[in-house]
């Protein structure tokens, strides 16, 4: 299978700024494998995630996601691509408070026909597919119809992971999803997230400042503190 991600001489600079917020010479992530991106705040982690998700475009260089030159596509296509191929997990507050747990999980399939069809190819119905994801992430069935506010933070993050994995996206991006969790919950979350990404064949890009998490990943990328210096990919 092709690469989930490949980056070539990437640089990003906010308009009006003199220094690059982010620069990466070269990065390659095979399909289905996982990457840990570490760096202190201000090192461009968020920028990288926005670039990978196609919300931002690089100032220089090329980002290919699933062998598609994402960085060279128009905005509308990048948004479509994100809906179809990428699952995204935020640091916190991932879920829409006005939908039930299971409706939140089904949301990606309502916004992407491709993921809707993929979900239906693995289960009888959307609800069944969502139930499968929730079960995989250890959310008991008694919570599925509950409002999001009834869940603990740890449970909410696992629901967010279930949603990210809905409809078999080729790439899952996680933006410090463990920062609000206590240590026990972190281990639990990391186990199920990396385990299920592997089981379902989704590549995972995971950003955190917590170096202890590196052991769950195949590859590691270290971003430096904000300075006009170069970053290097370490594998």
């Amino acid at each position: 299978m092709a690469d989930a991600l490949s980056i070539e001489s990437l640089a990003f600079r906010w308009p009006g700024q003199q220094h690059n917020t982010l620069s990466i010479d070269r990065l390659q992530l095979p399909a289905g494998s996982s990457l840990f991106v570490r760096g202190p705040s201000g090192s461009g982690k968020s920028t990288l995630l926005n670039l990978l998700a196609g919300v931002l475009v690089p100032t220089e260089g090329v980002i290919q996601v699933l062998d598609q030159p994402l960085s060279q596509q128009p905005g509308k296509q990048r948004d479509r691509f994100r809906a179809d191929h990428i699952g995204y997990i935020f640091q916190q507050f991932n879920l829409l408070p006005y939908l039930s747990v299971i409706d939140n999980v089904m949301l990606p399939c309502r916004l992407s026909r491709r993921r809707h069809q993929k979900a239906l190819s693995e289960a009888e119905s959307l609800t069944a597919a969502a139930g499968d994801r929730l079960t995989r992430l250890n959310i008991p069935e008694s919570l599925w119809l509950k409002r999001v506010s009834a869940l603990s933070v740890g449970q909410q993050q696992r629901v967010a992971a279930a949603r990210a994995l809905m409809g078999l996206p080729e790439l899952v991006i996680a933006d410090e999803p463990t920062s609000a969790l206590d240590q026990d919950n972190v281990d639990n979350f990391m186990d199920v997230l990396t385990g299920q990404c592997q089981a379902l064949g989704s590549a995972l890009v995971f950003v955190s400042h917590d170096r202890h998490l590196a052991r769950w990943f195949d590859q590691e990328l270290e971003l430096d503190a904000p300075a006009p210096s170069r970053n290097e990919a370490v594998s």
Binding site: S46, L49, N50, A53, V55, L56, G75, K76, D79, R80, R82, A83, D84, I86, Y88, F90, F93, N94, L95, L96, P97, Y98, L99, L107, P108, R110, L111, S112, D175
Partner: protein, 419 residues
């Protein structure tokens, strides 16, 4: 599709604010709807009151005043027409019929009309509908009385009952013609016009009541009983106004000129339709002011709604970021907010219509009784429907403002909204 469901769920999540906003929009629209309905119904009610009468003749006075006191029982006559002049004009060869009206007395707040039986034959309202009797028949005797539908219903009179007429107008009077009671002989069907609120007696009855009165007070020491009065000459000295039907419509204008130049006495003759137009022009100014105010209230409602959506936007940055992460385009975010704004408009219109109908249903009872104007529960007039369609469009367009802000916000926030 799914966006509508999302917009609805999101609104439901903010339902206190949403319901208050909806109430604001609904209230502003119901004001516009109600003002317009009252305007339409008032016009209809005025236009329907008199038909088939070519001219109204009275003592020299303003055209509007003559129309108001003779037909709508509003205001008072300043001058009367002498019986000689009345007889003279009714004998004119161009005149088909005349109905004399003598006003000035009342019964428990309802005006008493002295007239002849020609009234029941020639008075027409609406689309040339004649008066008809619910029970009984036209008056025959001097002391007979025929009641309008509302008078009979409210005061619970039946044929055979007796009533006493008060001198002057007003619902309580200290000067009553209680020595000459009248007997109810007929009750008219409802017409939706001031006729319903009128008490009709023969001209002779009016004269009989006043034989022992002078200058509005009962002459002390002089008392003429009802039966004694019968034997006297009860031809009235004057009448207040005369409804005139011409043999041919073509003669209306020349006859009007004739009366306006009448030598023996200063008289006025008006064409009811033309004078009604004058009334509309006068009322039109006030109406337009009311409509303008209603429009401003609707615009204020829209502005309020946009303000509420704008104010809530910051708290919803998370929501927008989540939708963006799931693949929503900035255009989707813009659309979502326009949809929300439009939903306020549509739901506000529906709620406003219901509120308007509720208000009309409740108010119509009181308005009918007090002003004799029948308010109808109906769809808005075609021209107002166009305005309402425009309002819905405007409600969606108003979403452009918060939509544009959210669009900019979601572009700059990307997936990393920190709030």
């Amino acid at each position: 599709m799914n966006w509508i469901r999302l917009a609805l769920a999101s609104l439901w999540n903010r339902r206190t604010t949403a319901l208050l906003t909806l109430g604001m929009v609904a209230l502003s629209l119901s004001l516009l709807l109600t003002v317009d309905r009252v305007r339409e119904d008032t016009r209809a009610s005025f236009s329907n009151t008199l038909s088939g009468t070519d001219l109204i003749v009275g003592g020299r006075t303003g055209a509007l005043n003559l129309l108001l006191y003779s037909v709508f029982r509003i205001g008072n006559a300043t001058n009367n027409i002498s019986w000689e002049s009345y007889s003279d004009l009714s004998r004119n060869s161009a005149v088909a019929w005349t109905v004399p009206l003598s006003l000035g007395d009342s019964h428990r707040g309802y005006r008493v009309i002295g007239t002849t039986t020609d009234y029941f034959e020639h008075y027409q309202y609406g689309r040339n509908q004649a008066l008809s009797f619910n029970s009984g028949e036209p008056f025959d005797d001097v002391y007979d009385v025929v009641l309008g539908a509302e008078v009979a219903a409210v005061l619970d009179y039946r044929p055979g009952d007796e009533l006493v007429v008060a001198h002057g107008l007003g619902s309580t009077s200290f000067a009553n013609h209680d020595d000459k009671p009248f007997t109810v002989v007929g009750i008219l069907n409802a017409t939706g016009t001031p006729v319903d609120r009128s008490v009709h007696v023969p001209l002779e009855g009016i004269t009989a009541m006043h034989v022992d009165w002078q200058q509005g007070i009962k002459l002390p020491g002089l008392s003429i009983s009802a039966d004694e009065a019968r034997t006297m000459d009860l031809t009235p000295e004057s009448v207040t106004a005369v409804l005139v039907g011409m043999k041919s419509r073509v003669q209306t204008f020349s006859f009007q000129r004739l009366i306006n130049q009448y030598r023996a006495e200063p008289l006025s003759a008006i064409i009811p339709g033309a004078t009604l137009q004058e009334l509309w022009q006068l009322i039109g100014i006030a109406e337009n002011a009311l409509i303008a105010v209603s429009f401003m209230v609707v615009v204020t409602g829209l502005l309020g709604m946009v303000t509420v959506i704008l104010a809530g936007l910051n708290e919803r940055r998370r929501e927008m970021a989540i939708l963006r992460a799931l693949g929503a385009r900035p255009g989707h975010i813009l659309g979502l907010l326009m949809l929300e704004s439009g939903l306020y408009g549509v739901a506000g219109l529906l709620a406003g219509l219901l509120l308007h109908w509720g208000v009309i249903a409740l108010a119509s009872i009181w308005v009918q009784g007090t002003y004799g104007i029948q308010l109808t529960l109906a769809l808005p007039s075609p021209s107002l429907l166009m305005v309402l369609a425009g309002f819905i469009g405007l409600a969606f367009l108003a979403g452009l403002l918060p939509g544009w802000k959210a669009y900019r916000q979601s572009l700059s926030d990307g997936l990393t909204a920190s709030t």
